[in-house]
Structures are given as structure tokens and as C-alpha cells.
Symmetry: C2
Subunit: 264 residues, 2 copies
DNA sequence: CGTTAGGTTGACGACGATCAATGACGGTGG
DNA sequence: CCACCGTCATTGATCGTCGTCAACCTAACG
């Protein structure tokens, strides 16, 4: 494991529960569906579903009836090939919604990376509830937009980036998302509940290759991996290593990462 | 070009314009947004935007205001890296909607592959119109679900399939989509307005590699590429070559492809 | 005709996969 | 407490797929 601890701190609640006039701009305060859940009257709260690391929320091919909001923990979506190889498609972090726009049978499975807690809604009640909270409709669109942007970046990574760039890019993405969610205490140090095999399966690489890339990034002073805890020493460098797309370079990354160089 | 002709036949209208009680099942009759457009009273029709092959609807990084429905032609979404490499993220076929859930700035550009015609709507009026046509809300969700499934397959392809498998998989995907849209006259022969470089950029390969894969698939009797027109000789074989995901094998593919073996 | 864009084929090299051995760590049971 | 085991990380050696470079071909077009 890159990280020993498989727990993810439950975050602090927002100061004011829901910003009703959230700006449409993509990079305003983050609304996520944990707020949605917090807002609901008791009776409306979704049924809970807890998962231990390694357990599945549903399997590829399962008929899925529900929309799930990940309240706490990390999970991932994956797809298996007939020949047994696995591809991790996306990581789900607290606030992410899964099972939203599938047809009948999910083309992927969901597996917990840490202990997870999901809220489950029938499609119907989910949309009813969203309809009742106008800000949540907006949040939903924003979330889908971010998920799609990530999917696109993922395709680009696998298609056009070297192994080292892919690793750097994934780490950068995760750091960025965690920051958005206020899940990183310290800017530089964070727990990723990932094994080499998860990173490898996400990036279309072999475990050994990921290991070598991490080692070389460490040798080059970009990060430290000690006692199974990842410290990013130099975010700017990491971004350089990631060979970002033209869009990525500009706003979102910059907005989330105050340019912070060597000087501690 | 794999295909000489860059025109795409405009399809026949549905016999009955909109099936209001479309089954929720993913594989019922295909509703697409060309119907939506056809249904609108004159005054509501979106403004038209025509594109010639190679022209862009918008560029990566552009602020996009509109939702676009592709009425006719082929286009593709792409992303450029800082070092100049390009990745094609997705192909858009008639009936596809683009620009739907972006935040402010598109993380990708759109370029026409054939002469294209788009209908443009402001976000607001698009959602109003969709709200007025209940079946279209359903169609929208189905379309998004299919697009997401494709994105996932794309990630899996790039991550875990060999060059040959990727090429077979892409061809299969395109054949399947064209059939769904009634855009293939003959089962076995079809025009793909693609150059090697498009396939290569979509699959994260070099032009030469794509060329070699196509040649070898031809040698092996899976397809024919004569006078720049692609004929698929053996869909079943093609599906075998594609190393499908566990889900893909079953329904959607099978439903669209009547099992058709060697015997002509 | 010459020019150009794109397709095809071969030779070669590099990046990353695979195979294998070893190390580090945690858990379990004697 | 220590021996044993299983899981995962690490490192080295070798191999294969695919990218790169280069030459040539073909078709379209002025």
C-alpha cells in the first residue's frame, strides 16, 4: 500500500449548508452531494450501505436500480476483460455520485478501496430530491462535467503519455481533488489508500513499471514515499512531469495550487 | 482516407415521430436528438451551424455557451497536449449532443470529419425544450449513458488492449453505432470518413501501426479495404479480435449483430 | 507532368511487459 | 517470543510490441 491508513477523515461541514446562488463558474465553492444528504429531513435520507475494502457495491453486468452517493471513503470503477485483465476507469471520492446514467446493466463494477459509506436512492426519488433543491441540480451538472473532464484526461493519459507522465498526472489529479474536498490537512503530505496494482490498473501499466516510476520521481526529488505515506515535495515539478493538456495548465490546476516552489 | 466519400446519407425519418412510451430498457428503439429537432415548431428550431471537413465547432479552451446537436455528418472531440501530440477522445455521429455538461471552458475541441450540420441552443432553451418533451429527457439520459459506456470502453482499450484489438474494437464500435442509426445500407460494407491518422490519434497508436493492423486483419480475412471502402467480412471474427469486455460480449453487441458466421 | 497528401512496407530501437529473485512487513500459531 | 507464511514492494535481466525513421507507392489535382 502506498498508504497504511485506510481511513479517510470525515470532513468538516460547510459553514453555511448550501449556497443557493452558487456561481455557475466551474471553480467556485464546491458543492457536493454530501451536502445534499445533510440537507434532507430524516425521513428522506437515503438508505445506508457500508463496504469494507475490497468489497463490491455492484459488479460489472449487474442490473443497477439505485443511484449511490459516496459519503465517505474511496472506491473505484473498473472493467474486466474476457482475458482477465482489469482496467480501473475512475476513482470515486466522497461526494461523488455513481450509477447515475447507466442503462440497465452497468458496464463496470464498483469496489471499495477503504471502508466506504454510500447513500442509496431509487432513481425516482433521487431526481425528485434533486428537483427540490435547485442548487443541487447545478451541482449535479458540475459534477458530471468534472467527471467527464477526468474521463477525457484519462483517455489522453493512456493514449499519449509516457508511464512517468501518467503516474505524475494521476497523483496530481488526486491531490487536486482531495484539496477541493478539504481532505488534505497538510499541503504536502497525504495518504493515498492505493496499492501499486491500483495505480497500474488505472494507468494501463505493470506494477513494476509504476514502482520504477515512483522510485525515479523520488530520486528526482519530486516526492517522498516514506513509511508508506506520500509527500509531494514540489507540486509545480509534478505538474511539469505530467505533461498536461493545454487546458489543464491554465485555470483549474493553477486555481487549486498556489504556485509554491522549493522554499518551504 | 479509409473512405473516399465524405458525405453521410441523411437518414429516413422515423415512421412515427416520437415514441412517447419508449421502454426504459437500454436497447429499445433508438431515440435521438434529430427527432427532437424534427418535432419542434419552426420558431423553436435551433440555429444552424454548418462545418466543412477540418473546421472546428469550437476549440479546446473556448468558453462554450451552447448545447449542440449534431444533425448530419461526423465530427470528433480531441484534446491537445502541450508537446503537440493529439488525442481523439470520441467520435460524434448524427444525433449526438455535445457541449452538454461542460463547466465554463471546454476541455476539448470539436472538429468536423465530414460536412456537418449542427443545431445550436442556449443551455436554457435546450433544457426547457427537453423538459417539454418527456421522451426526450429519457433519450438524453440514455444517450449520456451510452456516451459514458463508450468512454469507459475507450479507457479500457487504451489501457489494456493490444494495437490489433484496439483497431478491431473501434471498427466494431463504429459499425454498431452506425447500425443503430440506420446509417448502413448493406450489412457488410460501409464508408468510414476516417484517415489513418484519425484512427491512430483515437487509439493512441502511430499511423504505421494502424496501417499494419488493418493490413493484417485484411490478410486474415476479417475485412476488406478496397478502393478505400471498408467491408467487414466477418463481424463475429471482428468481435473476437476485439477482446471485448465481459459486459460487451453479451447483450448490446449480440443484439445488433445477428450471429453470422463464415457461411455467406 | 510535377507536386502533394496520404498510404504501405521495412529496418531498427526504445519503452515498458514479463519473468524471476529478494526484501519488507504484518499476521498467525506454536 | 519467534518461526512461518502471505502479501506487496523492489530491483534486475530479458523480451516483445509498438514508435520512429526512411523509402517508396498511389491517387488526386493543378
Amino acid at each position: 500500500m502506498i498508504s497504511t491508513s485506510s481511513h479517510v477523515s470525515s470532513r468538516k461541514p460547510l459553514s453555511h449548508p448550501i449556497a443557493l446562488n452558487a456561481p455557475l463558474a466551474g471553480y467556485g465553492p464546491v458543492l457536493d452531494f454530501r451536502d445534499f444528504e445533510a440537507q434532507l429531513p430524516e425521513a428522506r435520507a437515503g438508505q445506508r450501505r457500508g463496504l469494507k475494502p475490497g468489497e463490491s457495491l455492484f459488479l460489472q453486468e449487474d442490473r443497477i436500480e439505485c443511484v449511490y452517493v459516496l459519503l465517505d471513503g474511496w472506491a473505484f470503477r473498473y472493467q474486466d476483460l474476457k482475458d482477465g485483465r482489469r482496467q480501473i476507469v475512475d476513482f470515486a471520492l466522497p461526494g461523488d455520485v455513481v450509477g447515475l446514467n447507466e442503462a440497465m446493466n452497468a458496464p463496470y463494477g464498483i469496489e471499495a478501496l477503504t471502508p466506504c459509506s454510500f447513500a442509496c436512492y431509487s432513481r425516482k426519488s433521487f431526481f425528485q430530491l434533486v428537483g427540490r433543491q435547485p442548487a443541487m441540480g447545478l451541482a449535479l451538472v458540475q459534477m458530471l462535467a468534472r467527471a467527464e473532464a477526468r474521463a477525457i484526461e484519462h483517455v489522453t493519459s493512456l493514449g499519449r503519455r509516457t508511464a512517468r507522465e501518467r503516474v505524475a498526472h494521476l497523483l496530481l489529479e488526486l491531490v487536486t481533488r482531495l484539496k477541493r474536498l478539504d481532505l488534505v490537512a497538510d499541503t504536502k503530505s497525504l495518504d493515498l489508500p492505493l496499492m501499486l496494482s491500483h495505480v497500474a490498473d488505472a494507468l494501463g501499466l505493470a506494477n513494476e513499471t509504476v514502482c520504477r516510476c515512483l522510485s525515479s520521481l523520488r530520486r528526482d526529488g519530486v516526492l517522498v514515499l516514506r513509511e508508506r505515506r506520500l509527500k509531494v515535495l514540489d507540486l509545480r515539478r509534478l505538474a511539469d512531469e505530467a505533461n498536461l493538456s493545454e487546458t489543464e495548465g491554465s485555470e483549474p490546476v493553477a486555481a487549486v495550487m498556489p504556485a509554491r516552489r522549493y522554499a518551504a
